[in-house]
Assembly symmetry: C2
Homo-oligomer: 425 residues x 2
């Protein structure tokens, strides 16, 4: 696990000596009894003897800095009580703008926070509706941050979804190619197939399919930046006659196809639109042998994503349970689920690679974006990593076929054969 100390050191707004001196202009007053009570509350909820918590005046709980795996410094009283009242938002925003400073192993801290939070006890189903307009705004907010930003820490093909590491020592680049190939094998692509992709990112899968499997692809995405990049790649690689990149919503897909793929889009669809997505899939896929694959971040038990994540990083996002995805998207059209694979630990490995690269690129990121943005992004990557290692999030790949299609693969054998573009699973 990468430690957070070095990078955070640069993001600090004021120096500190590591022993608990005043950090900010606010909150200079000495900690009161109430402040110490609040500090103790936070310490008790984390329940981890390796975490040191310190206030602005040096008041501290937990081991001395030299013995702590991670030290958290809370810069002022407002932040302290915000942490007690609304931990997720207060920690996320406080970490981003420097009012909560973390020295040492951020991952260790987040793991303790996940353990402390436990399962969400009760909640309401997401009520929002991701209309076309809202969907475009949500996507724009995250994916149109500039391709240069993503190039700093994604692989060379800009694949921004869970990689697949058949060999755990693979590079991120190799693992993303292995994932693209795994998807093609699961889709059972044959030369001449017409494929439609909903939410194509920077186009890596669509191009991989056309290049290695002799298929034609129509790939949809509402992110202008991504579509532009994907089209340039298609031209540069001589695939523009076989891959069409279309800047539009999945609800606008037209045509008839042999295969449907959606990789990392379902999280942005919203439960209220699952039936609409299912209807599109049913409408555009061949009525006899049409097949498809959904690849999405999911849950074991229905729960919202972290409130900070949906507020600051992924507006409108939701990770469904396998049952919610099957019931919402597939069952109304009687799709038959052929195969489900959970790649949770592969997403943890992927996030580890992204986080390492992100940290290595810290100087570049800090030069072009605000420190607040860079810290928020780092927390998002580290928090996601811990969400997958702790089992709070899952990664499901769900393959499906028409109910009466008896031409489906007889066994999984074909899934593990070597394939044109990649490596043996």
């Amino acid at each position: 696990m990468p430690a957070a100390a070095d990078w955070m050191g640069k993001a600090r707004s004021a120096p500190h000596d590591g022993a608990g001196h005043a950090l900010s202009a606010q909150g200079r007053s000495h900690a009161s009894r109430l402040d110490r009570w609040a500090l103790a509350q936070i310490g008790a909820s984390l329940a981890d003897p390796a975490i040191r918590l310190a206030l602005w005046d040096g008041t501290a709980a937990g081991p001395p800095p030299s013995d702590a795996a991670v030290s958290v410094r809370i810069a002022d009283r407002r932040t302290l009580f915000a942490l007690v009242a609304d931990t997720e938002i207060a920690f996320g925003d406080g970490y981003s703008d420097g009012r909560v400073q973390v020295d040492g192993d951020l991952i260790h801290l987040l793991e303790a926070a996940y353990r402390a939070a436990g399962p969400t006890p009760w909640w309401r189903r997401p009520w929002w509706v991701n209309t076309r307009r809202r969907a475009r705004e949500n996507v724009h907010a995250h994916y149109d941050l500039g391709n240069a930003f993503y190039r700093r820490w994604l692989d060379d093909q800009l694949v921004y979804t869970c990689a697949y590491y058949p060999n755990p020592d693979m590079t991120l680049e190799e693992a993303q190619v292995a994932k693209l190939d795994l998807l093609c094998r699961k889709l059972d692509l044959k030369p001449g197939h017409r494929v439609v992709e909903a939410g194509c990112g920077w186009g890596a899968l669509a191009l991989h399919m056309a290049r290695h499997y002799g298929v034609t692809v129509k790939a949809y995405n509402v992110s202008r930046e991504q579509i532009r990049h994907a089209r340039e790649r298609a031209v540069a690689e001589g695939l523009a006659d076989r891959v069409a990149f279309i800047e539009d919503d999945y609800r606008s897909i037209t045509g008839t196809f042999d295969r449907f793929a959606s990789i990392g889009m379902l999280e942005h669809v919203g439960v209220a639109q699952y039936a609409a997505l299912g209807k599109v899939i049913d409408r555009v896929l061949d009525p006899v042998h049409g097949r498809g694959l959904l690849h999405f971040i999911g849950r074991n038990q229905a729960a919202p994503l972290s409130r900070w994540i949906t507020k600051r990083i992924f507006p409108g996002a939701y990770a469904p349970t396998l049952a919610e995805a099957c019931d919402g998207v597939l069952a109304p059209w009687r799709w038959s689920v052929l195969d489900v694979e959970n790649l949770r630990l592969h997403y943890a490995r992927t996030l580890e690679a992204w986080l390492q690269r992100f940290e290595s690129a810290e100087a570049d990121v800090a030069a072009t974006c605000s420190g607040r943005f860079a810290r928020a992004w780092r927390l998002y990557l580290a928090g996601s990593l811990v969400a997958f290692t702790s089992g709070s999030l899952q990664l499901f790949q769900v393959s499906f076929a028409r109910e009466q299609d008896n031409a489906i693969p007889w066994t999984r054998g074909a899934l593990l054969q070597s394939a044109p573009g990649g490596t043996r699973a």
Copy 2:
């Protein structure tokens, strides 16, 4: 597909000349206009030009007998109108007691009936509660028909669940061993593991695990006949010290185990008891590395089983959707679904093998059971075969682990390795 004619010929209560003469003492009066209307209704709903329908007086719809793939003769007016009013029950009971006679390809007829019925448009969730007592009665009604009966048409180990044919030309015996091995690989068995099985049939899986994987097994079943047979096998094969067969309900399981397996029992649990089953699984499995597998007949969209099947063959049975099983059994305890495989076509192949053997054993069956029983059983096997080939039923294998268990297999590679007891997948 085996044709039904020969066997049915022997089950007939009265001879007929194949051209539509009177068949029974009842309904001798000539067909009225209303009778002909009812006949036309049935013909229109089947919508298959290769099916001939004939009444007791020779009135017929469809092609002449020589051109028909299958001919159906309805023996009296009561049966005719029962078929219009309540097709499933009337056909099942009429076929069983000879009031509906089928010459030719029964499978062809059932396929047309499945197409005609289409998806169930609306229904209520199963309301019944399979209490311990009712569960025992339900199981007794089906599984305690005498081991000699099942020995006539199952494989040599009496495995009464979907087989796995990695090679489609395998014998039923080979395919059942391949299935047992597939289950062991999916359960990732290690020497010394403590395994519990809920609903163990005649004990083949429990014995296979102990013999080839060095584990100990506690196997539960409420069928007295099956437990008796399983215990005899354990003693005969020198495995009685490693496999305990217990005649009791799954709700009575005690102990702590590394692995939980339930093959073909969920269909008998009833949706109302899914939470109870999930609670048992959670209670008895190791809290860190406990894992399990559910193997069950399922649906793409929630619907009851054929009413005739639940009335005459499997009282209290229900085939859930994947979502119902996940939501009901696994989600409340935050089990993580690792892997789902749909073996629908393997169950069709298995049923083909059972049906062939059943037909070959017709003389033996007819000698010991009533003709009515034998015909009902034959219809059940043929109807199930068509349910799987038509996609009306699915066969799901669902593997699951504790949410925070990071010792789960890294990839599926191990699932396809050759294993001690069986064949390479």
